[in-house]
């Protein structure tokens, strides 16, 4: 499975969760953006064979 497909699966599974703000990838890793440090634990270490990274950015609102 390529990382784009894996990221799409990760989005479907994790983005609805409270505290997960965004899901993306950089070609090698799946990136999970989360609201707070407390949400980092919701991010898996690996997903469908790809390493995962958590980045704390806070909640997004329309501007």
């Amino acid at each position: 499975m390529d990382i784009k497909t894996a990221t799409e699966e990760a989005r479907k599974r994790y983005l609805p969760l409270e505290g997960i703000v965004a899901v993306s990838h950089d070609g090698a890793r799946i990136i999970f953006y989360v609201e707070t440090e407390a949400d980092v634990g919701k991010v898996p270490r690996m997903f469908m064979g790809y390493p995962c990274t958590a980045v704390v950015i806070g909640r997004l609102t329309r501007l």
């Binding site: 997960i20 703000v21 965004a22 899901v23 993306s24 950015i57 997004l60 609102t61 329309r62 501007l63």
Partner: protein, 299 residues
């Protein structure tokens, strides 16, 4: 020798618009040059290409004030919102200029008045109406994945493709990580940032009638916008359009990709809509009940 108004406008734009103190040019009815103050009047000839020239002193264009001709990067909003930012002007295939911003800035049914300045900044009906909400892509609740938060409004005042403090947009470019970018917005003015992500699916709070909305294929940048900057055009350092800012927080700013906005515009306005390149263009004033003489666009 008298030339077509469009040709006169091109010559005017090339000759004057980059000069200090020149705030705008127009050929709506007669040839008009808008100046910051009278000290710049010596630069303006009495006639241009056989047309007499009217000089209008309008002061320096500021973001929260009434801006005529209307340019990108300034305060706008429909009568149903507080304030947002006018992205820039797009030209429809039939030549009509349209105002571009976020759907949550141009909120309301087709025909809803849009004000400059926005209601929060003192804009009032009917004096500050600059257009009417026209085509838009509605933001839908989950599980739908939105790609854009965008809407168009039909202008009723002279407009320019200028973006305040930036100049004219110069085509579209794809975003890439570490790209240096800038924007001009109603709240924070001209700011700079760097792109940190170009593939993000994001969860954005604050939309009417839903807990949050989901957007895919978004650009994320370092923090460069605040509330009221929604609608700002995200630009490369060479004024190429990268995206349309619509969300963020104190750490990051989020924009729809310009290519996705372009695709959405095609849905609304087939065939292709192309942002103006290079020359500033001032639209004829369209007033009163004639504003909907064209087709009302709505998804």
């Amino acid at each position: 020798m008298k030339l077509e108004p469009q040709k006169v406008l091109e010559v005017l734009s090339q000759k004057f618009l980059m000069q200090p103190g020149i705030m705008g040019v127009s050929v709506s009815g007669s040839v008009k040059v808008y100046l910051e103050d009278w000290s710049y009047a010596w630069m303006i000839p009495e006639t241009i290409l056989g047309n007499s020239v009217e000089i209008h002193v309008i002061g320096r264009i500021e973001v929260l004030q009434r801006v005529r001709p209307l340019v990108g990067g300034v305060s706008v909003g429909s009568i149903h919102v507080t304030a947002g930012t006018l992205s820039h002007i797009v030209i429809l295939p039939d030549g009509r200029p349209m105002l571009l911003s976020n759907r949550h800035v141009f909120y309301g049914d087709a025909g809803t008045p849009v004000l400059n300045p926005a209601p929060y900044d003192g804009g009032k009906l009917p004096d500050d109406v600059v257009g009417y909400v026209d085509g838009y892509i509605e933001v839908k609740p989950p599980p739908y994945l939105n790609r854009v938060d965008m809407a168009l409004a039909t202008p009723t005042v002279p407009v320019s493709n200028w973006i305040m403090d930036v100049g004219a947009p110069n085509g579209i470019i794809d975003a890439y990580v570490n790209m240096e970018v800038k924007k001009r917005g109603r709240t924070t003015g001209l700011t700079y940032g760097k792109i940190i992500d170009v593939n993000a699916s994001v969860k954005v709070y604050g939309y009417e009638g839903m807990e949050y909305a989901l957007f895919e294929d978004c650009i994320m940048t370092t923090a460069m916008a605040k509330g009221g900057d929604s609608g700002s055009t995200l630009l490369s350092m060479d004024n190429e359009i990268v995206g349309l800012i619509f969300a963020g927080n104190e750490n990051v700013t989020v924009a729809c990709k310009a290519v996705n906005v372009q695709e959405a515009l095609k849905l609304l306005t087939t065939p292709t809509v192309t942002p103006l390149r290079g020359l500033a263009t001032l639209a004829p004033i369209i007033v009163g009940t004639m504003i909907f003489s064209g087709t009302i666009l709505k998804k």
